[in-house]
Amino acid sequence: MNTYIFKTNLQCANCRAKVQPLLDKSDEVLDWQLNLEHPERLLTVKSPSPNPEDISKLVARAGFQAQLQEQAQ
């Protein structure tokens, strides 16, 4: 299980609502959390996938950007 932390450009609750369905439905995402209070708008994802790009691509499908900041096992 990997935990990825991404920097994102999501700004508001409405933005969250756009990525939510994609993240909820995805098999690559077991659990996720979006901290909009944080200046970097951090998205923390628990994923079985060894590839963080899968998550970034998912977020990109909603039109937003997610840049990997940290990775933990």
């Binding site: 450009n9 999501l10 700004q11 508001c12 609750a13 409405n14 933005c15 609502a17 756009k18 369905p21 990109a60 499908r61 909603a62 039109g63 937003f64 950007q65």
Partner: protein, 739 residues
């Protein structure tokens, strides 16, 4: 890579709430096959797409994420208008259909009561009236009931529904009653007439409601379509949406300014009445700001675009008017309020009736209890109920029209009497709206007529905005212009001229007189000072070596203003003056008309903010205005009044328009509102009273004495009396004076 074969279109987008959403929309579209470029305009809620695929593809791509694209290119206002029209036509159809079927039922019910087949015919004809044409009442009643509430629809549905079912039962199985010694009455005509009348009342109400807003369309038409772009290769005419910040634009005499910007070269006078409401054209020079939608007068200049598209002041005014109009909630109908109490009460009475009769017992106790309790419900709904409000309002609107008060929004008749604050715009409302010569002081030794004709000739050639005022004054006096041998315009100072006999003349500021070394008589100087203290503009007229006259020019206060304001204040309403003009003039004017609270130097959005500020304090605010710069405030006010001479837009936005622009119509409008609401209350009384009398009779109050229970004649009687009373009362309103 941009290719002119690609489709380029701007679509409205919904679902964007922040800048990140905007870039997400762009990103989603650009990821879509066939899309080359997407550019979002967040303020406009739109996206400009360069693409090669179908509109629907774009739409699905965005919908997948949670946005939406409007591909029909339909104007949301057009759509709203169409929907309203469709609803009106549907209502018309229903009313007509109900009326046609009700007629035979009524005839049978009144004249062929004992004819048994008549009942069956009525049954068949009434069913569609009640359940098809009248279905909206049942649908609404069900919605209300689910929330534990009741309104007028509930009353109609309850009464007519029960009446129909009861009558149907009595037609199919009259033995149930006859075997127990009761008359199986039918009330088909009661049910159908009520449905028809209430539908008719709704139709009348819709007719009296306000027109959809063409005000916004007119505001949008103030925007120019094309403009002259100054480029290295010369002047080019380009469409307005291609302008960008930093572009240099040329404006010729008479043109509309296309976008907001800063003057870079040249100078001119610009009519900014759309922003400031001030009729006097403002001089613009290098470094001054110009606004989109304002009108250039006789000069020509260049400016650099600073704000384009939806950032211009004009666009923002449009946006604000749009949202202001959308935010006003309709007045809750009095009838609904009454019904919400009446329905539970009637049901209660019905239950009590049943219980009482059942417990009294005796022969056929159950049937008696049933019949009386049902009859109570049948007689409960007054058929004139739907007519009470619309008839009073129609008469109110008609009466207003007779007195040059155009009522655009019927609700305003009900709101007007709750007003406690009235905001008046200064220019064009309290004052005439254009500069006029108010006074002239002459030096002792003057041949006035001759001098005036010189003045007239000179002003005819002047570009100065005040020239018109002076010209008008001369024309009114029947003066003919003299012949001038030479004429010169000294920009910023004034004008000078010479006549054939070598006489020299000057018109202009005091500085010009001093420059030419003209002697200024003391009395004229004093006069000029006192006028300036009153915030009037002073123009000096010099002849050879002395100042022969001084003219005071001001925007005159209308004759009836002070009186009308006093009348309004007497009603306990606070009158406030808001203006875009300067403090000095504002103070002078408010003193003259008896207003203590005023604010000057306001931008259009400031006026609107004042309205909101007062409303938040719990005040009911009425606003009177005439210009485009008032339209946002007008849209927000609880009651908006426009002056007839003013801009079309103000008139469209406002609830009431005073055709003659005479302020004394305001107290009249307020009285009209009082009378109308009183009329509505009276109508409701007359509508209900007969049915209220009918309820105890239906409940069997007279039974122990006369064996008398509810019968169709009684029900019909109540219907007729209530309808006639309501109509007569409304007509009575016509004859009451508004003064």
């Amino acid at each position: 890579m941009s290719n002119s074969n690609h489709k380029k279109q701007t679509f409205p987008v919904s679902g964007m709430s922040c800048a990140a959403c905007a870039s997400s929309v762009e990103s989603v579209l650009e990821q879509t096959d066939g899309v080359y470029k997407a550019e979002v305009n967040f303020a406009d809620h739109s996206v400009r797409v360069e693409y090669d695929t179908t509109d629907d593809e774009l739409r699905s791509a965005l919908q997948a994420v949670g946005y939406d694209l409007i591909t029909d290119g339909e104007d949301p206002f057009e759509k709203q208008k169409e929907e309203k029209q469709a609803a009106y036509l549907a209502l018309q159809r229903k009313t007509l259909g109900a009326a046609l079927l009700t007629l035979p039922v009524f005839i049978i019910g009144m004249f062929f009561m004992s004819w048994t087949p008549g009942r069956w015919i009525s049954l068949v004809l009434s069913a569609p009236v009640v359940f098809y044409f009248g279905r909206q009442f049942f649908i609404q009643a069900a919605k209300q009931a689910r929330r534990g509430l009741a309104n007028m629809d509930s009353l109609v549905a309850l009464s007519t529904g029960i009446a129909f079912i009861f009558s149907a039962f009595n037609t199919i199985a009259p033995e149930f009653w006859t075997s127990r010694g009761f008359q199986p009455h039918v009330y088909f005509e009661a049910a159908t007439v009520i449905i028809t009348f209430i539908l008719a009342g709704r139709l009348l109400e819709e007719r009296a409601k306000s027109q959809t807003t063409s005000a916004l369309k007119k505001l949008m038409s103030l925007q120019a379509d094309t403009l002259t772009l100054i480029t290295d290769s010369g002047d080019q005419e380009v469409p307005i949406d291609q302008v960008q910040v930093g572009d240099h634009i040329r404006v010729k005499p008479g043109e509309k300014i296309p976008v907001d910007g800063e003057v870079t070269a040249g100078q001119s006078y610009i009519d900014e009445s759309m922003i400031s409401g001030e009729p006097e054209a403002v001089k613009k020079r290098s470094g001054d700001t110009v606004f989109a939608g304002t009108i250039n007068q006789k000069g020509s200049f260049e400016f650099r675009a600073e704000k384009v598209g939806s950032s211009t002041l004009l666009s923002q005014i449009i946006d604000r008017v749009k949202s202001a109009q959308g935010s006003k909630a309709p007045v809750q109908k009095l009838v609904d309020k009454i019904a919400s109490i009446f329905v539970p009460v009637v049901i209660f009475i019905s239950i009590i009736t049943f219980v009482v009769w059942f417990s009294i017992g005796g022969e056929a106790a159950f049937s008696r209890a049933l019949m009386t309790s049902i009859s109570v419900l049948v007689v409960a709904c007054p058929c004139a109920l739907g007519l009470a409000t619309p008839t009073a309002i129609m008469v109110g609107i008609g009466k207003g029209a007779e007195n040059q008060i155009l009522i655009q929004d019927a609700q305003s008749l009900q709101i007007a009497r709750t007003i406690d604050t009235l905001i008046l715009d200064k220019t064009g409302t309290i004052t005439e709206g254009r500069p006029t010569v108010s006074q002239i002081a002459w030096a002792e030794s003057s041949n006035r007529k001759d001098l005036l004709s010189i003045i007239m000739a000179m002003e005819a050639r002047s570009e100065h905005p005040l020239a018109q005022a002076i010209l008008r004054h001369c024309k009114e006096k029947g003066i003919a212009p003299a012949k001038l041998s030479s004429f010169d315009s000294l920009t910023g100072e004034g004008i000078k001229a010479q006549t054939v006999d070598g006489e020299k003349f000057w018109i202009g500021k005091k500085a010009l007189m001093e420059q030419e070394d003209l002697h200024l008589p003391n009395d004229l100087l004093e006069k000029a000072k006192s006028w300036q203290a009153e915030a009037q503009t002073v123009v000096y007229f010099g002849h050879n070596n002395e100042v022969s006259a001084v003219l005071a020019i001001a925007d005159r206060i209308k004759e009836h203003s002070a009186q009308a304001i006093a009348q309004i204040q007497k009603k306990g309403i606070e009158v406030i003056m808001l203006t875009g003009d300067q403090e000095a003039t504002a103070q002078a004017v408010s003193q003259k008309v008896g207003i203590t609270a005023y604010k000057a130097g306001l931008m259009p959005s400031d006026k609107a903010e004042e309205v909101i500020r007062l409303q938040q304090k719990g005040r009911k605010v009425a606003m009177v205005g005439d210009g485009i710069n008032d339209s946002e405030a007008l849209a927000l006010a609880d009651l908006s009044i426009a002056m007839g001479h003013g801009s079309d837009i103000a008139m469209d936005v406002a609830d009431i328009t005073l055709v003659t622009s005479n302020l004394r119509h305001i107290p009249q409008a307020l009285k009209l509102s009082q009378l109308t609401v009183r009329g509505i209350y009276q109508n409701l009384f007359w509508a209900f009273i007969y049915n209220l009398i009918g309820i105890p009779i239906a409940a069997g109050l007279l039974y122990p004495f006369t064996g008398f229970l509810l019968d169709p004649m009684l029900a019909a009687g109540a219907m007729a009396l209530s309808s006639v009373s309501v109509v007569l009362n409304s007509l009575r309103l016509k004859n009451i004076s508004l003064n």
